[in-house]
């Protein structure tokens, strides 16, 4: 059977599975819709969180990014996993004890302020929309490349599926489809990784093969890659080019941003008890770590394979996948010196080949000549990753609108049924907007991803921590902290990414910190401003101090 038929079958089967799960887990109340009735087991929630968190970017782009960045790619590996340690120890158990439906709800109650609530709603909606448009785009790309349908139709089909289970099932439907999607995506990621590990290192565990040796020559893969890099004029793979301070700040911003992302936080509202929330973060990170420790191995295998296959080889001898990806414009070759050979070197004046990083994972099975069903499986996995993340984000948007704005601020007397209907309508509305953003992506999607993490790091993280770990933090401090953190972070990113992109280079950055890493400074500023302002303004009411005492202790009569 050919690749296309396999892809149709595997994608079709996975979609049928998601729809079946969605019908089985419909939401009957707002409690079901927002937090899945708080009845999700810690293990299932861990899987759902892993699928929620691992987006099209993690599945499709990350290994490719790392294979081009080498050591510098570590910022993503540590940054997108280390945040879970903070989540497990500093946020999840206390937020679970508090027992809210949304993140803005905690901010609003703890800081006894509608202003704080509205600022939090605005941040949650902005962060989530930024993210979700990228997911829909990922769906479109997979459809167009593997099933040869138009990107627009791909996005429409993806919207249809998400619409079905997010609108019908809310958090409950999303949770159980995410569990199914995790299984699909991790299987799809690991199968080609096992094949590659055997081919390149002779052992089938990618994490070991990564440090293993070429079975024929006995040279360690990492040494071989460092050598190839030097020959072609690149920095050694294990060295990297970013400054230490920048790596430090980017990693910190991604960690703290991860811990502050609303769609990740709300997953821990869905388990029954505080102790479940703690251990559930552990399961989530374990499931994420399976992919995240495989990705750098895949990056090394892919990079070695690619250099072996293309560098210095005659263009005529390129295999079929090469021309297929050339058709999509993601690989381009320009024979500058006219010798018919592909020159792939670091020097842009002499280089003849450009390869889009995003295709590394998708093209890997073909580059390595794996069976056709593996290629189809990778397509199904990419879709599972994109759809599961999109659904989680859409829920944040819908609950921010129907619960935080409508129920808590505008129309407090709305009935349970009215609120559930409003939640469904806002979820439907969010799906459509996300789809439109996916079809006509604003040119700046890639640039605003730094925003999502920077804003989450500089807004939510400090106020939640201060709300739990101090009893004296007050409304004035929290609002001043959030506003100064966001304003500073946004100003820095907007200046370097939109107003003066020409200046976006290490020489002009403050202390050599790139816009990706500035969220760390924004977070520190938020903490400093909040603590200072709270010293000079009235202390919070006694009821809030009691609330803090209550959320610090899991159960009992405390």
């Amino acid at each position: 059977m050919d690749v296309r038929l396999w892809t149709f079958i595997l994608v079709g089967l996975s979609f049928a599975l998601y729809i079946g799960v969605a019908i089985w887990s419909r939401a009957g109340s707002t409690r079901d819709f927002y937090v899945a009735g708080t009845g999700v087991s810690p293990l299932a929630n861990g899987m759902a969180t892993a699928a929620d968190w691992m987006s099209a970017a993690s599945f499709i782009s990350m290994a490719g990014l790392i294979s081009f960045m080498g050591y510098d790619g570590s910022v993503y590996l540590m940054g997108w996993t280390g945040g879970y340690v903070l989540l497990a120890m500093l946020l999840a158990p206390y937020l679970r004890k508090f027992g809210a439906y949304t993140v803005p709800e905690f901010v609003g109650e703890r800081y006894y302020s509608q202003v704080a609530r509205v600022v939090a709603v605005a941040c949650a909606i902005f962060v989530s929309f930024t993210y979700v448009s990228g997911q829909m785009r990922g769906v479109g790309i997979v459809f167009s490349r593997f099933l040869e349908v138009d990107v627009t139709w791909g996005v429409v089909i993806g919207m249809g599926i998400v619409f079905f289970y997010a609108v019908l099932g809310g958090m409950k439907g999303i949770t159980y489809t995410q569990v199914a999607q995790y299984c699909v995506l991790i299987f799809a990621y690991m199968v080609p990784a096992f094949f590659l590990a055997v081919m390149l290192s002779g052992t089938f565990i990618p994490q070991l093969g990564f440090g293993g040796a070429d079975p024929e020559s006995g040279v360690f893969l990492l040494d071989k890659l460092d050598g190839l890099h030097r020959e072609l004029g690149f920095t050694a793979y294990t060295d990297g080019t970013k400054s230490t301070i920048d790596v430090f700040f980017i990693t910190a911003a991604l960690m703290v941003g991860t811990a502050g992302l609303p769609h990740v936080i709300i997953r821990f509202y869905t388990v029954p008890r505080v102790r479940d929330a703690r251990v559930s973060v552990g399961w989530a990170l374990l499931f994420i770590a399976i992919l995240y420790t495989t990705a750098p191995a895949v990056a090394v295998f892919a990079r070695t394979n690619l250099l072996d296959t293309v560098a210095g080889q005659p263009y005529e001898a390129m295999p079929e996948w090469f021309s297929k990806w050339e058709d999509t414009g993601l690989i381009t070759f320009e024979d500058r010196d006219g010798d018919g050979n592909i020159r792939y070197v670091a020097d842009p004046a002499e280089n003849e080949l450009t390869i889009d990083r995003d295709i590394m994972v998708l093209a890997n099975p073909e580059i390595s000549r794996l069976p056709n069903w593996v290629v189809g499986l990778v397509a199904a996995g990419g879709l599972a990753a994109a759809l599961s993340t999109a659904a989680g984000l859409l829920l944040v948007i819908s609950s921010a609108i129907s619960h935080d704005l409508l129920k808590r601020a505008l129309k407090p007397d709305i009935s349970e049924r009215g609120e559930l209907l409003a939640a469904r309508i806002s979820a439907a509305f969010a799906v459509v907007v996300a789809g439109l953003l996916g079809i006509n992506p604003p040119g700046f999607v890639a640039q605003v991803v730094a925003f999502a993490f920077g804003l989450a790091a500089s807004s939510f993280f400090p106020v939640i921590i201060l709300g739990t770990f101090t009893r004296t933090m007050n409304r004035e401090g929290a609002i001043a902290g959030m506003l100064s953190g966001i304003t500073f972070t946004a100003a820095y990113i907007i200046y370097f990414r939109f107003i003066n992109p020409a200046a976006d280079s290490p020489g002009n950055w403050w202390f050599g910190i790139s816009p990706e890493g500035i969220g760390t400074v924004g977070m520190l500023l938020n903490f400093a401003v909040a603590l200072t302002v709270s010293k000079f303004t009235p202390a919070p009411p006694a009821s809030v101090r009691e609330l803090v005492d209550r959320i610090r202790v899991p159960g009992g009569n405390a």
Binding site: I66, Y71, G73, S74, L77, M78, T81, G82, Y84, V85, A88, M89, L90, P93, Q207, L208, F210, G211, G212, A213, F220, L221, L222, D223, T238, T244, V247, F248, T251, A252, M255, R273, V274, R275, R278, V279, V281, G282, L285, L286, A289, Y292, T293, P296, D549, R552, V553, P554, G555, G556, N557, A558
Partner: protein, 85 residues
């Protein structure tokens, strides 16, 4: 009735120790001292130590840290009689 302040102080002590390890493996071994550690290799593999911490080791330690914290806190909850049913 056990003292909630003491419960909280123990929690903070666990946090300080575990977060110090969290910082040491990632920001320490993986970033600040990565170059120095790269002089050492994990025997029998192609891994330079700093690089390994940055791309593998820190992640394994993170997973262990969370499960350790969950266990320590479950025990603490029982000790102070604040465990949930």
């Amino acid at each position: 009735m056990p003292d909630p302040t003491a419960y909280w102080a123990r929690n903070l002590r666990y946090l300080a120790i575990l977060l110090a390890i969290w910082f040491a493996v990632s920001f320490g071994c993986g970033i600040l001292f990565a170059d120095a550690l790269n002089a050492v290799r994990i025997p029998g593999t192609g891994f330079k130590l700093g690089f390994w911490f940055a791309q593998q080791g820190s992640i394994y330690v993170f997973v262990v840290l969370i499960f350790v914290y969950a266990r320590l806190m479950n025990r603490l909850d029982r000790e102070y009689g604040v465990a949930e049913e």
